[in-house]
Symmetry: C2
Subunit: 517 residues, 2 copies
Amino acid sequence: MNGAHALLATLQANGVTTCFANPGTSEMHFVAGLDDAPGMNAILCLFEGVATGAADGYARVTKRPAATLLHLGPGLANGWANLHNARRARVPLINIVGDHATYHAQYDAPLQSDIDSLTSALKGWQRRTLKPDDVALDTADAVRASFGPPGQIATLILPADVSWGELNVAPSWPVATPERALPLDEGIIGKALGALRRKRSAVFLGGSALDAAQLKLAQRICAATDSKMIMETFPSIIDRGTGIPIPERLIYLSEFAIAQLKDVEAIVLIGSIEPVGFFAYPDVASRLVTDDCEVINLAPPGSDTMAALENLVNGLEAPVVVVPRGDVVGEPSGALSTQSFAAAIGATMPEGLLVADESNTSGVHLFGATQFSPPHQWMTLTGGSIGYGLPVALGAAVASGERVLCLESDGSMMYTPQALWTMAREGAPVTVVALSNRSYAILNLERQRVGAVHEGSTSQRMLELDDPTLDLCSIARGLGVPATRVSSADELVRALRDSYATPGPAFIEAMLPKGLN
Amino acid sequence: MNGAHALLATLQANGVTTCFANPGTSEMHFVAGLDDAPGMNAILCLFEGVATGAADGYARVTKRPAATLLHLGPGLANGWANLHNARRARVPLINIVGDHATYHAQYDAPLQSDIDSLTSALKGWQRRTLKPDDVALDTADAVRASFGPPGQIATLILPADVSWGELNVAPSWPVATPERALPLDEGIIGKALGALRRKRSAVFLGGSALDAAQLKLAQRICAATDSKMIMETFPSIIDRGTGIPIPERLIYLSEFAIAQLKDVEAIVLIGSIEPVGFFAYPDVASRLVTDDCEVINLAPPGSDTMAALENLVNGLEAPVVVVPRGDVVGEPSGALSTQSFAAAIGATMPEGLLVADESNTSGVHLFGATQFSPPHQWMTLTGGSIGYGLPVALGAAVASGERVLCLESDGSMMYTPQALWTMAREGAPVTVVALSNRSYAILNLERQRVGAVHEGSTSQRMLELDDPTLDLCSIARGLGVPATRVSSADELVRALRDSYATPGPAFIEAMLPKGLN
């Protein structure tokens, strides 16, 4: 029994039974060990950013970690961007990085690199295991660390000789007990109650506070105190749909968010951090609340957000509120636009759908169009590193077996298109709608904001994707996923319904007018 | 005039006139500044690993740096793997990474990340510019640093407010003077001469020592002293073809390399470092020469390898040697195999071709089949991080305007397929031959070496790419490159000749038998 066996056994003993892998030579004993670990579901990815994003999606849905398997520094680097998103989603994730044998590092072989610095840049937990007998305990520590709270990335660096080396101790697979949620502060609860009663307040919800039960509590608090209920712009996962209260979403562009918050005299943070601008802009503040606004950090990420909300409901004796109901939007027809696209999604949505949303500028109407659709869950780009959508959708589908709707844009799906192949391989129930507007539309917006507006200029050409036009269907088919191109809302509705009724993945390329729309 | 203008102007003043870019919001002033910098050739890439690999290819061919433009930590991370390869190729490269405005970093916005740690893991030069007035000098310092010697990655981190801030000083664009080559040590030259005269020796060539002129000098030295002439396994770029001496290539697998070097009593390093195993394996040494072998570090990377070779030629009074000549291999016909594939390449190669080789296990016969082809240059995977081939081919084509032949494998091309789109966009003269064997064949070899040989096992399935089969032509067409599938050697010969006669990129999928062959 070697270190790789101990790793696999300890992961399984801790319920970590899915591993998204892109292995290399230094991970070959782990791969070989899979033949003795039938309970481990090892899922091959063609690129590491797919593996890490899939582990993120898995954790968002299950609240439990999956493992990755990455090949040395370059493998970790290729997976880093989606680890960044996972870090911002505050999910538990076990990141396993193979390395050269301990004694080989000194020779500066071609693949030698500074894995420790790459890992430390993830600001999570990290450890380099130095002997086979330590593997089991280190693995259990990684599992415990991954849970936080809040959830975080736990990276275990595993030198090849630790993986292939035989154990000297009797095999034993420790089971990690996650730490309890961070305690709430009674004084801050009192402060929040006072502010909610006396000031124009907002409850700012994020992280773990966005499930249906907590949204209902928040709604009661806000109704009882005439406060705003606002959610972070990019939540990890949120319950939505008919019967579930709908918070305002913090607006992405700073100027608008500042206007949204300008009358707020106190903001109560629950599962969130203080809202700040996504980017800085000349002459626009980074902080979005006014300088006078009282910021009450009631339940930071990792604390018991449900208890915080219950405390407020009880303190305010806030009565139950009826959740407003409405009709599902009607099926659109005619030309495809961002409006009719959103209506097609809303009109066809089956109950329990998981949505991985990376539609960017094309998605502005989605929240409105789906608010009275059957209950569903919505995931967003938490860390701003594009290329998260397809991998997260893959991971969510593997985790749940439920249908996932991945809303992509042509620009962003080109970061990690390889995820489509693993969807096909696993028969993952993912419907991908890729919005083709042949442009980095959000960057064209930003370009106009900085004053460069000349049409046909070099700077504009840097943000156009129509020379040549990407044939997204051809790419999807090349990766093994059946693909359809739609040019009208009617066609999109039909294609969505077809995909929901058909097992396995489907790819729909939706042709929007070019550019911002 | 703002910081972005100063950056662009200083780059151009230093002859850095090509920038491979994947910009985001924090780089938008750079993008806007392109409209005022018509001398800068900004080339859009859909993924950062394409941008960094292209800058590597550009530098291998021209010996001069191109710039990248990357978006914060995740953009740097996405480009990191090919920066690792560039680092191992010891090329000059200016890596420009946009960051949040200096005052915005404290708010931990979603895209905030530890760019400095990611950069330091590249082991090159790095600086974070803190005010617009420093941009020009910092840029010139980056250019100087990039040249080394040896060449290295110089990363300039540019906060958005430094980019958009106006200059307070008069515009002035300093021009960097590269440092001179590291001096040679007379004592070591004497030691090398002594060893070459008295011991069974090898001259181990790498880095900058692999052009035709230096290979001819090395051949004279080896002929005069009955020494072996060996090259590193994965050179950055080497002159090859008829009339150019052919060194032995150090064998990739350690056991065979150890056998190759077992009789060598002294090894003289010129442009190379001591050969070590690419990976460690149980019970196989990391060092490849014997413990008794005298290692003479005559001309380390960054020193004047030509002078080192001239010193040895003169000290030995080594006469001119005739370079063996032979016939170009005949055109193959019939079934496609690794042999007939290699013959097709060798038989059709035009003079001056640049080859970016990432054919891995399928490429074993290439060096033999091309040794008497017209003179050409060959680039290899210097850092072991797969996904280098398409981007480096793109960069080499942009740099030279000459035809590049990119030899890819299905597994490795799936890391950075997005390069094909930029090839189409730029009309880059790249012929891609993608060898489809539907497997990570090299890993299957490694899997067998670790003793996991059961057919149909989980571990084997982790290394197979035929479920579903990748349709590489469909992917290439989707990215805008005309594509052909060939199933025989005759078809491959025809497709190669067609591509060499047609402007712009071409993609050829060559169907090999499945797996190792």
